[in-house]
């Protein structure tokens, strides 16, 4: 009973989302349009330049017009980057991202559920306030004590050293967004689940989670992006090349090959490629999720 209700309302919500964007007139927006095309150029030119340059040999790079595709495209730069342990850094980044995002979203969802469903207790109120305060703290300012804690835990130069603080940093915004969405689930649904004799965990799992899936997706993607691209934590909490993640590897690679610009740009393409592929696949979901998550 409750599950069918849940399904109905989630379908209704989906329909609502895909309906014509409301709230804007049909008149042409010339200024916005002009800025949009200008912005497109500002974004496209550097990206185009990165891609074509990464296929140029070093001598062609100096000789050719920078905006003309390579006359003799080469994969040598890519080969060089891949041979310099790219795969290892890639795996490290995947481990850190998955290892931090999955627990972060799970604990945040549980906390958001508790806060919305029984936020009257002093403990939960205090918890909520703590998370909200966390939003205003520039997390980078806390890295020195984090460095100390990681050393004391004997985790320095391990991937776990990157995972633990990343989870903590992800919690406040995740709880906020998830709680906002769980709050929108009609009370009646919770009540009917209760009448059906469902346990709290059952309600969380079978009602709240499916109904707030768009929010869960948003939070997952947002955290994954932030953590995948993280630079400061890997910089201060790891040391050996074996523990490097992609952004840090990119930086060290740039130091090593600074004279070979096409090779450096090939490494930029390679480190960005996984996330770009995901973007092409899940673009709609990503943009819809982020718009809803922050527009709320």
């Amino acid at each position: 009973m409750a599950t069918t209700l849940a399904k109905d309302s989630s379908q209704a919500a989906a329909k609502h989302d895909t309906a014509h964007p409301k709230g804007v007139t049909r008149r042409p927006n010339w200024l916005g349009g002009a800025i949009a095309w200008l912005w497109l150029a500002v974004v496209v030119v550097p990206i185009y330049w990165i891609v074509i340059t990464s296929f140029k040999s070093q001598s062609n790079y100096y000789a050719e017009n920078p905006l003309v595709p390579p006359s003799e495209p080469t994969l040598a730069n890519y080969q060089m980057v891949i041979e310099s342990d790219f795969i290892r850094y890639f795996i490290n980044s995947v481990v850190v991202t998955v290892g931090a995002v999955v627990p972060a979203v799970a604990v945040s969802f549980m906390a958001a559920y508790a806060i919305v469903r029984s936020g009257r207790g002093r403990f939960l109120r205090w918890t909520n306030s703590t998370f909200l305060m966390g939003l205003a703290i520039p997390h980078q300012a806390t890295v020195i004590p984090i460095y100390l804690i990681i050393i004391k835990l004997h985790l320095y130069d391990t991937l776990l050293a990157l995972i633990l603080p990343s989870i903590a940093f992800a919690i406040p915004l995740s709880v906020l967004i998830l709680a906002n969405f769980i709050r929108d689930v009609p009370k009646e649904l919770f009540e009917s689940m209760r009448l059906d004799g469902a346990t709290e965990m059952g309600t969380l799992w079978n009602l709240a989670l499916p109904l707030t899936r768009p929010a869960v997706v948003t939070v997952t993607i947002y955290n994954a992006l932030t953590i995948w691209n993280g630079f400061l934590l890997p910089l201060i909490l790891t040391q050996s090349p074996e523990q490097r993640t992609l952004p840090l590897a990119l930086w060290t690679f740039q130091g090593q090959y600074s004279i070979n610009v096409p090779a450096v740009l090939a490494s930029v393409v390679l480190t960005s490629l996984p996330i770009l592929i995901l973007y092409v696949v899940g673009r709609r979901q990503l943009l819809a999720g982020l718009t809803a998550g922050f527009g709320k």
Partner: protein, 308 residues
Amino acid sequence: MTVPPVPARGNASLTAAPGGQGRGLAWLAVPALLLFVAFAVIPLIGVFVLSFTSWDGLGEIRPAGFDSWRAVLSDPGLPHALWVTFLVIALSWAVQTPASILLGTFLAGFQRYRAVLSVVYFIPLLLSSAAIAITYKALLDPNFGLGAGLGIPILVQDWLGEPVLAFSVVIFVVSWQFIPFHSLIYQGGVRQIPRSMYEAAEIDGAGRVRMFFSITLPQLKYTIITSSTLMVVGSLVFFDLIFVLTAGGPGDATRVLALEMYKRGFQANLMGPASAIAVILVLVGLVLALLLRRLGGRNSSHSQLEGA
């Protein structure tokens, strides 16, 4: 300090927990709380405590009283770093906000080619700051970059070697990276404005510009606060982009507070003074977030729709 800097609908409605059910759920919040306390709250207290000690990052931590604070506060580098940080925040806000509002409003509209545009639009959002900084370093190289390659004299400048130019490049690159994100927030905000308001205005014969200033902009008030808060707290701690792009240079032209903290802590091994700078960062962040919240009115957690 229970003030949420991000105006969120319904934070105040904690008391309206559905029907008072779901008691005994508190344990569900425990894992998140433990992790957050261990790696965010304790470090926050820790950074304050460490600012009264001396530590080289490896050896023993010794109490040092106000030594670090004295060293930091008497260092002429601090007002400079504060000033540069402030300039980065103010200028990147001034560049990003109007552009993001216009873009967001445009993207919320009906144009058919929006979907095509948005495939490319949001790529900067996905790239790491390190990748973006490295790209712009190569792109702006006075000898081999884009300007030199195309032979356009005005583009051939020592972009990262001249203080004013380097600072402008930082603002530009920051905007390049974050305008997509903020235009997305504004797009979401514009979509929540009731269509009836525009219809009414249309009947009254209002033009697009008039509608923008009389409806869209006022209705975006809370979105502007949200976006600005994220922007300000974010630019306060711009580290990776500036670190890779200019490393604070030339000279100290782009030496922001976060970079100052890193350099003193992890390069000069002076964790005490570095912690003092971190405390300043936290304080500035909190003050700015509170100010923005004040601007948002007494209760920005109400839905914008309710007053419409």
